[in-house]
């Protein structure tokens, strides 16, 4: 199956939904690691939207990316509650530990505000991080 055929299949799987665009974009992002221009074109055609409309939506949301990034991603919460629990003091060590291999990204709140600093890798979540625990997490990502 070509990539385009698979994209059309994803669109068809969501055809019965009201307002199917976000669920489609989530499925495409999960499968291909991004929603690039070529995917936008296919989705726009399938939903009878303009490419500009689809691109406008893709570029609005933080969860959708134009290019795939094969590196494992550690999402570190740096919102107020985790700041109050000292996350900023851990950032330099975490950045140093990422090197070329891991991507460290900032997320604003994982809902673990009473046990921060907190981080997420995929669906795995981690709390009560100190510098050593966070560095270990980055290294094992």
């Amino acid at each position: 199956m070509t990539r385009e055929q698979r994209l059309l299949e994803i669109c068809a799987e969501h055809a019965a939904l009201e307002g199917p665009l976000l669920p489609i974009l989530h499925a495409v992002q999960a499968e291909f690691g991004c929603v690039d221009g070529a995917a936008e074109r296919v989705i726009a055609h399938a939903l009878n939207l303009s490419r500009a409309e689809v691109h406008g939506v893709v570029s609005f949301y933080h969860d959708f990316t134009a290019e795939a990034d094969p590196r494992p991603c550690v999402q570190l919460c740096r919102a107020e509650a985790c700041q109050a629990r000292g996350v900023e003091a851990l950032v330099a060590a975490a950045e140093a530990a990422t090197g070329e291999r891991v991507r460290l990204s900032t997320v604003y709140c994982l809902g673990l505000c009473s046990v921060g600093p907190a981080a997420r890798i995929g669906d795995a979540i981690h709390a009560r991080l100190d510098e050593a625990a966070l560095v270990k997490l980055v290294q094992s990502a």
């Binding site: 939904l17 009201e18 307002g19 199917p20 665009l21 976000l22 669920p23 974009l25 989530h26 406008g56 939506v57 609005f60 949301y61 933080h62 969860d63 959708f64 919102a79 107020e80 509650a81 985790c82 700041q83 109050a84 629990r85 000292g86 997320v107 604003y108 709140c109 994982l110 809902g111 673990l112 505000c113 009473s114 046990v115 921060g116 907190a118 997420r120 669906d123 979540i125 981690h126 709390a127 009560r128």
Partner: protein, 513 residues
């Protein structure tokens, strides 16, 4: 066989509950995964009989089993096992070691209605739900005419728990009487405020309560379809809710609920932006009017309520529920608020209380002060758009009007504690920076003003600034805050001045080079 109860709430999981549960299971215990009691500093909290231990690590498992077996019937005797003998770690008195959970002061001082099942039931057990009064609100509501259901919600005094505090009954009545055959109920679970986790805790711990509340709302307004918009940062809540909906499908039929996942945009917590996102559009805010109650999702009349509002309705529609809800609270803020104690606090977690409780009680009495042991410098109530409150204001009662009068907001009930290491100038800058990063771009004050705000705050804190330039910049900052507050389309731009102005007012020394 020993039955061990351990939460599968995200906080427990993030603190290692799965490994502890696996260790008990491999030791031959029956492990039940339950909701969290909300005492987050104790997670993973292990419950045998009604006796609790926490925080527990895998290494503690053999010792715990030995003690619970030696004591025979743990529910009557294990309370005699005291912390210091068993676990030197806990001499700092923050843990719980062999004590009756329900008697813990953190729980005993609460008034749990929305979170009545927290810690007590298995989240996806229909039997547990029914055995604890589940579905009685919906069953009763369905015997009543829609206008009677709305009247009970109005009578209860319930106000929107998302932050705006708009009376739920009035919103429902508007949708009920709106013209049109197609109507929707939308649950806002886009809980993006830092310091808040009650929506997540409710969905993960008691998902049927939300589903029941939505079904009641649907009956009251005549809606056929419902959506729960959950943020993508909550993967466990999404999975739980999907499972719960599959289990409850026949119970709520013909009403149908679908889960939709957000995509990382904070502004989608604003109701009109959320509706656009559900429709598959950019999450841009809509101008009001028209109100969503008249022209909401796909242009149809729509109830948009926060998760906690809808979950409270399940209780309110049970027999006598509305009267009870209206009978407690403070001023025009009726019932209870699930308050979330977060940040630098010793005993953090979920604390559901009647309105009227003070920050002094919450932060010092319940929360035990800061986790770092240093003095409390500031408390931010109501998320990133909430004001920073100074300890001098800690006697303010938790109440929508009292907070508004003090230029603050209770928002979604998040309380984030900061110790004296906090740089309030940096926090004010962060508020502007956050607004700039999350602005939907629709209105100019928010889109441009937030970036100008970051620049101004940087200049004020720059060594090179002259006293005259500083005075001018302070005047411009005040002007900018006013423009944001009164000129923005929604609360993101409109409320960002709250943290900025409050920080500047109470801690001006932090706004100097």
């Amino acid at each position: 066989m020993t039955v061990v109860r351990i939460s599968d709430d995200a906080v427990a999981l993030a603190c290692g509950a799965d490994a502890v549960a696996a260790a008990f299971a491999s030791a031959g215990c029956t492990v039940e995964r339950v909701s969290s009691w909300g005492m987050h500093w104790l997670e993973p909290l292990v419950e045998i009989g009604e006796i609790g231990w926490g925080p527990v690590t895998v290494a503690d498992v053999p010792t715990l089993l030995l003690h619970s077996r030696e004591s025979g019937n743990p529910s009557s005797d294990a309370g005699a096992i005291t912390a210091p003998e068993m676990d030197p770690r806990l001499r700092g008195d923050d843990g719980m070691w062999g004590r009756e959970i329900a008697a813990h002061p953190f729980l005993a001082h609460q008034h749990r209605l929305t979170f009545a099942r927290a810690g007590r039931t298995r989240p996806l057990s229909l039997d547990d739900y029914a055995a604890t009064g589940g579905w009685t609100g919906l069953d009763r509501a369905r015997t009543l005419a829609p206008e009677q259901v709305v009247a009970e919600v109005t009578l209860s005094g319930l106000r929107g728990r998302g932050g705006a505090g708009f009376p739920a009954g009035i919103k429902w009545e508007t949708v009920r009487t709106a013209a049109g055959a197609h109507k929707y109920v939308v649950a806002n679970a886009d809980e993006g405020d830092s310091g808040t986790f009650a929506d997540r805790a409710l969905i993960e711990g008691d998902p049927f309560a939300l589903i029941e509340g939505m079904a009641i709302a649907a009956h009251a307004v005549g809606a056929q379809r419902g959506y729960v918009y959950v943020r993508s940062e909550y993967p466990h809540a999404i999975a739980k809710l999907k499972s719960a909906l599959a289990l409850a499908e026949s119970r709520i039929a013909p009403f149908v609920i679908e889960v939709r996942v957000g995509a990382g945009a904070y502004v989608c917590g604003e109701e009109t932006s959320l509706l656009n996102s559900l429709e598959g559009k950019r999450g841009e805010v809509r101008a009001k009017p028209p109100l969503p109650a008249i022209e909401g999702l796909f242009g149809k009349p729509t109830v948009v309520n926060n998760v906690l509002t809808l979950a409270a309705v399940s209780h309110i529609l049970s027999t006598g529920g509305a009267e009870l809800y209206a009978s407690i609270g403070h001023g025009k803020s009726r019932g209870t608020m699930p308050i979330q104690l977060a940040g630098n606090i010793r005993n953090g977690g979920l604390f559901e209380a009647q309105f009227g409780i003070t920050l002094r009680e919450l932060v010092y009495g319940i929360g035990g002060g800061t986790k770092s042991g240093r003095p409390v410098k500031a408390v931010q109530v109501g998320g990133p758009l909430g004001a920073y409150l100074h300890p001098d204001q800690f006697d303010l009662p938790f109440d929508y009007e009292a907070y508004a009068a003090a230029d603050a907001l209770i928002g979604h009930g998040g309380v984030v504690v900061f110790d004296d290491a906090a740089d309030m100038g940096a926090m004010a800058r962060f508020a502007m920076e956050f607004c700039a990063a999350e602005s939907c771009g629709k209105c100019t004050p928010c889109r441009i003003g937030s970036t100008r705000g970051v620049e101004l705050l940087d200049r004020l804190r720059d060594n090179a600034i002259t006293p005259q330039a500083r005075d001018e910049d302070l005047a411009v900052l005040e002007d900018l805050c006013e423009t944001l507050q009164y000129g923005s389309l929604c609360a993101l731009g409109g409320f960002t001045p709250y943290p900025v102005r409050s920080a500047l007012k109470h801690w001006p020394e932090d706004f100097r080079p």
